[in-house]
Structure formats: structure tokens, C-alpha cells
Subunit: 456 residues, 2 copies
Amino acid sequence: MSKGNEMTKMDAMPHHLGLFTDLYELTMAQVYLEEELTAEAVFSLFVRRLPKRRNYLLACGLDTVLDYLQTLRFHEDDLTYLASLGKFSDSFLDWLRDFRFNGTVYAVPEGTPVFANEPILEIAAPLPQAQLVETLVMNQIQLQTMLISKAQRVVTAAKGRPVIDFGTRRTHGIDAALKAARAFYIGGVAATSNVLAGKTYSIPVAGTMAHSYIQVYEDEAAAFRTFAQRYPGTTLLVDTYDTVEGVRKVIELTQTLGADFKVGAVRLDSGDLLALSIETRALLDQAGLDSIEIFASGGLDEDAVEYLVSAKAPIDGFGVGTSMGVSADAPDLDIVYKLCEYAGSGRLKLSANKPILSGRKQIFRLSEAGRYARDVIARADEVLPGQPLLEIVMRNGERLPASYVDIEAARIYAREQTALLPEPIRALAPATPPYPVEVSQALSVYQKEIEDRMRG
Amino acid sequence: MSKGNEMTKMDAMPHHLGLFTDLYELTMAQVYLEEELTAEAVFSLFVRRLPKRRNYLLACGLDTVLDYLQTLRFHEDDLTYLASLGKFSDSFLDWLRDFRFNGTVYAVPEGTPVFANEPILEIAAPLPQAQLVETLVMNQIQLQTMLISKAQRVVTAAKGRPVIDFGTRRTHGIDAALKAARAFYIGGVAATSNVLAGKTYSIPVAGTMAHSYIQVYEDEAAAFRTFAQRYPGTTLLVDTYDTVEGVRKVIELTQTLGADFKVGAVRLDSGDLLALSIETRALLDQAGLDSIEIFASGGLDEDAVEYLVSAKAPIDGFGVGTSMGVSADAPDLDIVYKLCEYAGSGRLKLSANKPILSGRKQIFRLSEAGRYARDVIARADEVLPGQPLLEIVMRNGERLPASYVDIEAARIYAREQTALLPEPIRALAPATPPYPVEVSQALSVYQKEIEDRMRG
């Protein structure tokens, strides 16, 4: 990723993110400093349980998090605001004024399949620093991991047909729309309708026309003719009044325009997409227009796409909006950022039956017959068979060169990684049994030690 | 809202929002200009159907939309990017370079209850302008309307007990978290944990402590003591190891600290909140600590809050996070932005059984016995009984002074408006029958005329 791209990317983000944190991160940080609790803490970010309809997640959001950690500062107006709350000492505000994150980050690359309890990243930093960054780190990893994981299901269902992101108007705000477009592209979506995302992340942009365009003209045929002449190869939206009549008007255009007729596709956006696509295909083929493709949209999700593909609907591409843009069936992840070590000593929380794996960790992924077969979550210093997934990406607050991954490379990596998952795990339906994730012998023993110490 | 506040608010948003639009808005706008389709268009923004578990929505997001319309510009780097797409003429790029939105906006005030098919806003502007702003206008009104409407349910369920927004870490990105905090506050939430939102919108901020804070100490009692000494009146999180033991340690603090003991509340964050709150209350009361409040959090939504309140759980306040922050049961609205008039002539879309009310409209809200009783959607120039809801808020691209509403005033307005709804509509359960919304005689006749004309 070039420096130029980074600049653009930050430009699309608010500039003052220092205060994008929960108040308690600041009040806790102040006590840590006053009590000299500034030894190295290790926090682990992971998803406790997968959503019901997810057999795996793809990790995403690391690039944003590393940018944030590297550029995190507190400005004078932030400090003035904090002073006004009456909770913070001058010495704490001075500490914030000089704040530079200088911790170390281990993470799985963006596009890596992950499962419940597997660390997506681990941050090792002086306790007040590691605590302070919790809110934004969780916010961004959850958002982008959730969205790429949803998109990957839609892409899987489309079986090679292009999927276009039409979600912007119903994503949750500006940041979500931009991050969605990026995550979707890494997850295999072909293009986005969001122009700012295209510019910011160098993602292909695409679009057709809206119903309003057709309605402005008194005559649907005139609307088609004007747009087709202006944009050779364009897609015409045929369902504003009557889909089949709309298709007939496209066919009539071949006579009106003659050699200038260069329509790429028609778009169906409502009604029974299976029946209408079959009828549309037949009409186009009868007219010798077999090169015109059929593009479908309108409330689609991965289930609708899978249904249409398995029913052999003659649809060449899908526009998917709201359901993918908000991850409608799983609009949040049970993601947590938990202290697992402080001053070299393991930590865990006992209550509420929500175990946290203690200490620094590594994930080893084992293959059998060319497919991923099982994972082992281990202590960070273990060397076990399989591929270790967590890599160091930031040291002493500086991103390592390997952490800058081109979006095209991330997209290829995500595709390759997903292809290596067992078929039942890649399928849309819940896999039984789920992908096996074990805890290493050494980690189990360590975990037991810590538990005994805590109870004890 | 002071000028100073506006600056801060914009600061928390990306600066270049010109390209935050779907590609087709730009390709359509170019054709409109080339074809001289630049007469005034009226677009209506409304929700086609309410989500299953919403009897009403509260409108929100207008302030963002008006800021956006007033400041919308295209910068040179935007134009350079668009030129690189090979779809846009120099004259269109020149038009974008000089772009100023100079349309007129009619809207219901933020915090107004709205129902299906009722315009939240109507934009009247030269067609290319009105088209171009669609994406962001929809994005922001959907986000903020969805979030305030969810929050209002939680606030209703809490029956006067304060609700604190803990959602930031799982909202969809930075913009959503900030807009959520603002919408929640208008909807009756007492405070947010998000410090940047507090600064940006002058919302009260609140917070307690995290489990990690407790875990850092070898001894839970020491963790409590340090925090309670530092922050008189604070809330202590008691469930890290064992909730009842945690409460006992808080009680023991009275002996350790003596007159310095100034704990405001304990927080329960897991387990059976009803049983634990009863046990906690009893322990505190036995120790003469009846002034210590009990605050509950941990996966709460409006149903959980309603259950706890109706079971008379001795809980004094609720921290609500993920479910409210992503509007988990309804993470999107069926919101649309539809052309309803062009060059003085009504427009509608016939297909797919999704009627659009044609022409400029007004909503009249009628009361009976001091409560809202029914609404009538009418033509804009009708004068009917009841209170008209749509007001002019922007004229020729300039916000009118009345459109600047202080957040405290919006909060009071939302509370008053909600209180005027019939009880079954305010309840969490689906209301049968729903709130009555009719279409005026004149609008019905006009609608029929347009339909007949469209059908030819």
C-alpha cells in the first residue's frame, strides 16, 4: 500500500480519534498510572462464540487498527474537554498530551479464517496504553470481520457469478459503508457502488440506474435509449412499470439504435426473479441478443442467491445491498478484548462460565489431504506441527513493513484460504460437527495453574 | 446549537463527502444535465413498512443531512478520480466543481414519531442535485432513525430508571457510534460511555470499570479500594470472580475506608440478574448501605429490561450495549427515497406492489382526549384538521434558523411527543390495530390521476 493511499484512507476518517474510547478506559488508565501499574499487559481479541449461521469468520480490520495505533494522539481540545469533566489530574492530562502507542501487536493476516476463541490479535503494551485502545480496536475488528464474513457467504452462494455491493444507503453510517466496501472486496465481492470507497481503497466501482431515472421520462423507451447511447455496455433497469414489457422495450432498441446498440445487461430488481429471469433470457435469446446479460437485485441475501443459482436461474450477476451491508442475520459478533497476562503472569476471569485462555498464544493450523483439518490454540512459545497463524505486525508502536498488504493481495489470500477449508465448513448451512479447535497440552496445564492460583 | 458545536461536529466527520454516493447517482446526473432534465424534482424519504417489533419510529438524522447539504462540495482530487473512470465529460466535472446544493427541504423535526409511508423529509431541487444526494441522505436518516427508535424502546422498558449507552465497541464503525450516542440521548438515554460523542454533542458521559481492572490486582478488595478512593461516588464491578463475594468485599470496604467510603453503586454484569440483584440488595441493606445503588448490564435489550423491571428487580439503572447499538432485532429499515414529482407533474412507480404517494405531501396528526389518535397524509397544499408535521427547514440551500435545534430541546420534544402516543403504540409488543394512518381524499384522487396517466 503506497503512502499516497494511506493518506487518502486517513482522510476518510475523523482526525481526532483519541477520545473515541469508553470513559472507563480513561479513568482506569489514570489509576494504573497513579498506582504504577504500568508493566506490560497482554490483551487478546477473539470471538467467544460464532453466530448461529457462521461456520467460520474471516478476520478483517487489522489495517485500520494498526493505522489507529500508530497515529493515536490527544489534541489540546481533547484535553480541555477531559479537564472539564473534573475527573482527571493535570499529570494524567500531561501523560495524554505526550501519548504515543509503543506496544507490540501479533495478528492473523486479514482474510484468515478464524474460529471461536482463536485470537484475531494480541496486543502487548504497558497496561494503561493497552487498556486505552480497547474500544476502537474492538469496534473496527468486529465491524470488518462481521462484514467480510457475511460477504464471503454471498460470494460462495453465487458460485463464480459476480456480486456487486449495493449496500451503502443502508449500512450503519459513513465509516461502516466505506469499511464494508473494502471488506467485501477482500471477501470476493467484485465491485462497489460507493464512489468514495472506490477512490479511497482502489476498488472497482459499478452501478446501473435507478427507478427515478426511468420515471423522469414520460416514456420508458426514451429513458433506455438515452442512457444506452451515453454509456455503451451499460445495464438497463427493466422493472419500473412491467418487467417483461421493459425487456421488450430493450429489444426494440436494437431497431432504433442499429449498430449503436451496445447494451451490456438488463437488471431485474423485483418480483419472482427465477421466473422473470427465465422469461427474460428467452425473450433476449429469441431476439438474437444472447450476449446481453441478466443482472438481479432487490432484497437478496446468500440464501436467495443460493436458491436462484441452484434453480439454474439464468442470472449472470447479483447486486446485494442491505442484508450484506448490515450483516442482517448476525449484526454483531460476541467479540471481546480480554486481559490474559500482566507483568508476565497469566490472568483470567472466573465468573459467568466464559473461559478466557490465559497468557500469550499462538494458533497452529493443521492440514490433511490438502485441506485444513483442525486448529490447536497453544502457548505463544510452543512449536507444534501445522502453520502458525499469528504474526508480529507492529513492534514498539511501529508497523512492520510486512503489515502493509495490498488490497488485491489480501483478496487473493482470502480466496486461497477459504478454498482450503473443508466443504461442510464453507457451506451456508451449519456444519456438524463444527471445525475442530483444540487447546494444546501446555496451554491446558498453564490454564489450570492460573485457575488454581486465582481460586486460591 | 452554537457555531462552535457545529465545527466540532463536522470535525468528527470525513471532510470529503462529495463522493460518498452510489456511482449511478453520478452517471444519471450527467445524463440529466446533457438532456436538460434540470427542472425541479421532489423526492420523498419514507419507510415503507415498520419493522415487525416497532409500532412507531422516531425521526432522527435531519441535523446531519442539513449540514451535509449545505457543505457538499467536490474537491479537485474527487474530480481527478472521477475523470480516471472514463465515464464523465469535462463539462460534467466542471458542473461538479461549482456544485452548491440550492434546493428546499421539508422535514419533520428530530424526535417526531412517524409511521409507514409518512415522509420524514421531502427534498425539492433541480433533478441532478436531488438525485446526487440520495445515498447519504438515506444512509444517515436510516441510521439515526433506526437507533433512536430502538433506544426509545429500552427507555420505555426502564420506566424512569436511567439507561446508559455502552454500545460503542460493537456499533458498526466510528460514525455509527457517534451518531448512536446522539440519537440515544435524544431518545431518552441518560448518558454515553463514548467520550468523543460526549465532547462532540455535549452529552453526559458515564462509565464504571472493566473486568481487566480487577484482574490486574492480585486481590479484588485492593482493586475496589483503590478505585473507590480515587473516584468518590463511583460504581464498582462485582462479578469478576463471584458476584456475592464481590458485594461482600464492597461491604468490607466500609471498615477499611471508614469516612472515606463513598461508593455510589455496584454493577452486576453477568449471571441471573434478578436473583443476584435481590441478594445484593439484601446484603447491602443489612450492612446499612441502602444508599448504594445497583446497576445492571450484560447483554441487555428492551425485553430483558422489561422483564427485570416487571419482576421488581431492585436495579436502579441499566447499561445497554450491543443490542441497542446495532438495533439487533431490526438492523435496517425499509427506507426509500422516491421521486414523486418532476417539473410540477406527479410521478410514481407501478411495479412490484410498492405504492409511492405522488406529489408533495403534508402529514396532519389528529388528537383525541389529549393523545394522538390518527394521521392523514395529504397533498402539501391541503389545509386539514390536525397538526401539520412537515416544516420547511432549508430554502435555496440555506438552513433556516429554526432548523438548528439544541440537543436538549430535541430530547424534551421527543419525550413529549412519545408521551402523546396511545399506550398500545408505546408498548413493546406489536399493537393491534396499528396506529391509523390515512390518505386524504385529495391525495387519493391525485394518486389515481397519476396512475391512470402512467398506465396510459
